[in-house]
Amino acid sequence: MNETAVARETEAPPAPPIDLGRVRWIGFWTIVLREYGRIIRIWGQTLVPSAVTATLYFVIFGSLIGRRVGQMGGFDYMQYIAPGLIMMSVITNSYANVVSSFFGAKFGKHVEELLVAPLPNWIIVAGYVVGGMVRGIAVGTVVTIVSLLFTHLHVHHVFIIMGAVLLTSMVFSLGGFINAVFAKNFDQVNWIPNFVLTPLTYFGGVFYSISLLPEWAQKLSLANPILHMVNAFRYGFLGVSDVDVVRAFVIMIVAAAVLFTFAVVVMNRGTGIRD
């Protein structure tokens, strides 16, 4: 060790001017790249399952049952549920990626690599969230390709599609991050996806138009943010929506801003990560 150690520059390390902006930028991309590396490394857990599930949904609900359902919202059932299924995979995967990656980092203590680094907490949150969005959008793309095997998709408003998908995956990545910060064990990592996200998604207009529901149930459904996200996304494809699309975007933007602020605040307090 010592022979090669001599190779190190011989003068004392100078006090370099610290360019914090540059450090943040590189730090942010390093987090994103690490998350991307993780998604690729364990692709069997990250990319494949949703593609399989989506295929099953298309076969069962689309082809088998859908034929008996007939029209929904003026489109054949398969076409109607395709945007919903894509959105469902985006939601699940964005959330799952961040909650398991960040909780894993806490559990394996390598979150300390980030805590000792000269990065503000908002960069750490942003890095993980973009990592979650990468996974959500990657899986969403895979499911879109699967859906094209079963049906054809119009593109009514491409920017609405992209905006809805980006904001939705951002919101649920943030949700996953906050879940991971508070989680003390693996049960608490699975709790929200199983008992909150799945029901909200199923009641979130993925499989049906809320116009089929009685009035009270329609009102109740409007309190479900996922309904707004799914419908905004579907509007981008089909041009039909159960909700006001502008209001849906306002809900998504506000939710993202509130969750981001909350995530940064809990990180600054050190909740669950610093004694």
Binding site: A5, I18, W29, R34, E113, V116, P118, R274, D275
Partner: protein, 327 residues
């Protein structure tokens, strides 16, 4: 310029444990500094606060003049830390781990790759660079954490028991390596339970016990404070009882071994001539315990039964001495 300056630092954990009870400490730039103390003394807590892994309860910390309350990012960018416990992702490869860590400190990838090669080679991990870190041996994992801490070439390197569980050969080469880095200007703070290591490497020392600084001195002047030393003498011929030497405490360990306590006012020539007069031939002689260890034990034992019980875990030789009822 102080590499590290700590004032009135306190820490009370949520469970009520008061780990730090008001620490004042300065470490000069360029120093090789030993932070010693028995298990539970608060060393890791202190390091945790300096590196932002632990929230402080009160007090002030400055790193190269940057206050961690006001210029945290600047302070952090000066520090490289090798933690006591493993804290890298076991499923990543050494190269990924060190390159990413450099990225978190704002080192561009191209530079990070070059440095990864340099430091992984220096720490003899280059041929393991693309194996999963989980499969490294314990000593390799420690070296990986050293390489990782060096990637941004920090001005202050803090090592929390870097040589725990590392074999003798590697430990010696780590010493050379750390000396080299220190010679090039990096300030080093080291905690260790191998007091010989601290004595060999470090120029200044603080002993912390029960969350307080018990001693802070230059290594050389601290060692000079030792008033009595115990020597172990190996004899050529068997003796049946400890010889009586006026003014010296002599004990018989076995029929070929004596222990003699010598104060600084006394001298060895005197002992040897008196032993010769008694016809006792001394073959060889050594210090019973390392001198720093002697001071350490006195300091932490002086704190009462509790400190002593914990300190017993620190070093077997010292513990054995205590069991022997020497003092």
């Amino acid at each position: 310029m102080h590499a590290l300056s700590v004032r009135g630092l306190t820490k009370t954990y949520r469970n009520g444990v008061q780990a730090l009870k008001g620490i004042d400490l300065d470490v000069e730039e360029g120093d090789f500094f030993a932070l010693l103390g028995p298990n539970g003394a608060g060393k890791t807590t202190l390091i945790g606060i300096v590196t932002s892994l632990v929230n402080k309860t009160g007090g002030q910390v400055r790193v190269f003049g940057y206050d961690i309350d006001r210029e945290l990012e600047a302070a952090k960018s000066c520090i490289g830390v090798v933690p006591q416990e493993l804290n890298f992702n076991q499923f990543e490869t050494p190269e990924t781990i060190v390159v990413n860590q450099a990225g978190f400190y704002g080192i561009p990838r191209r530079v990070a790759r070059q440095r990864a090669e340099k430091y992984l080679k220096q720490l003899q991990l280059w041929d393991k660079r693309d194996k999963m870190a989980r499969g490294l041996s314990g000593g390799m994992k420690r070296r990986l954490m050293i390489a990782r801490a060096l990637m941004h070439e920090p001005r202050l390197l803090i090592l929390d028991e870097p040589t725990a569980g590392v074999d003798i050969e590697i430990r010696r080469s780590m010493w050379d390596f750390l000396r080299e880095i220190n010679a090039q200007g990096t300030t080093i703070i080291l905690t260790t339970h191998y007091l010989e290591e601290a004595e060999t490497l470090c120029r200044n020392i603080a002993i912390i016990d029960g969350g307080r600084i018990a001693e802070r001195d230059r290594m050389s002047s601290l060692l000079r404070k030792l008033h009595t030393e115990t020597f172990v003498l190996n004899l050529r011929n068997a003796v049946s009882a400890a010889p009586r030497l006026d003014g010296y405490a002599v004990t018989l360990v076995d029929d070929h071994t004596l222990e003699v306590e010598v104060t600084r006012e006394q001298n060895l020539n005197d002992i040897f001539s008196r032993l010769s007069a008694l016809g006792i031939e001394v073959l060889s002689m050594r210090n019973k315990v390392n001198r720093l260890e002697e001071i350490f034990m006195r300091l932490v034992e002086g704190k009462g039964a509790n400190g002593a019980a914990e300190a017993a875990g620190v070093n077997e030789a010292a513990a054995a001495r205590r069991r022997g009822g020497m003092r």
